[in-house]
């Protein structure tokens, strides 16, 4: 029986995590962000480095990531408030523990160092950037699919790895390969997110009396 209770708790936790992606909004916004990142890399590849815009773009990478991340988060919140919460309710998630947060930062930093060291030691391997990006992003989706029990994330993981490798194999080079990869992944996320959102909106009508809580 205790096993059943543990399973019930684990299921409740997994369902709560699934709830974050039940409407596809996070994927849509992330897809938009990846698409813009692809255009950013594309602009960097096209514009001469010595031009003012080219230099600004190169210098502003961290800013693009931070601002994009914050804007995306805010946009997800606003869309959920308008579309999701009136239909299926509101959930606030626990903040990750300090230990987990530091572990994530350390892991990301470690991977960035490893990849940088690899590319620095063998400049020819730069052509593999799309494939490496595809694998890293693929592993991320694989982990999320396993953690949340969401099947479409496995498909995204496979697509990411395949797209990255295919772009590298096509020999377009990292200058055009990286923007191409991010645009492909961005479009894939927009498609899966859009389909998920459409299905969610069809299945979940707005609750006419959201304030059922008045009965408490």
């Amino acid at each position: 029986m205790d096993d059943k209770i543990t399973k019930q708790s684990e299921l409740a936790e997994q369902r709560a995590m699934q709830y974050w992606v039940v409407d596809g909004i996070a994927e849509l916004v992330m897809g938009g962000f990846f698409g813009l990142l692809g255009l950013y890399f594309g602009a960097q590849a096209v514009l001469p480095e010595e031009s003012t815009v080219g230099s600004l773009l190169s210098a502003g990478f961290l800013l693009v990531i931070v601002v994009g991340g914050l804007a995306g988060r805010s946009l997800i919140g606003k869309l959920k408030e308008r579309l999701t919460y009136p239909r299926t309710g509101f959930v606030a998630y626990r903040q990750p523990s300090k230990k987990r947060r530091w572990l994530t930062i350390a892991l990301a930093f470690g991977m960035a160092m490893l990849v940088s060291a690899l590319f620095a030691s063998a400049p020819a391997s730069l052509a593999w950037i799309p494939a490496v990006s595809g694998l890293v992003i693929g592993v991320y989706w694989l982990y999320q699919g396993h953690r949340m029990g969401v099947l479409r994330f496995y498909a995204l993981a496979a697509l990411s790895a395949v797209a990255g490798t295919a772009i590298t194999m096509a020999g377009v080079g990292e200058t055009l390969g990286l923007p191409l990869f991010y645009i492909v992944i961005g479009l894939a996320l927009i498609v899966t997110g859009g389909l998920t959102l459409r299905s969610y909106l069809r299945q979940m009508p707005v609750q006419p009396d959201e304030s059922g809580e008045r009965t408490i």
Binding site: D2, Q8, A12, R15, A16, T88
Partner: protein, 102 residues
Amino acid sequence: MNQPLRGLMDLDRVIHEPARLTIVAILSAVESADFLYLQRETGLTKGNLSAHLSKLEGAGYISIEKTYRGKLPLTLCRLTESGQAALKQYRQQLELLAEKPS
């Protein structure tokens, strides 16, 4: 009465009820959740859910905060420390019961 049966008698009846156990399990996984989410997840009617929430609140296992999100009224429920402890104890009691030979 033998020991395992006495263990059964000691179970926390507030949590032991399946609907309330479901609510507590859901709330143990999140920071807080609103009435609508709990209703969808548990499949309970509004009246039933309200009654169970009141009972859990009365036992001090959950806190209920009435607020607004934009113009919409929102009832946020969260598991209190006492509720977390009660759930933990309940699971430990069941574990002990499962270990004892019948």
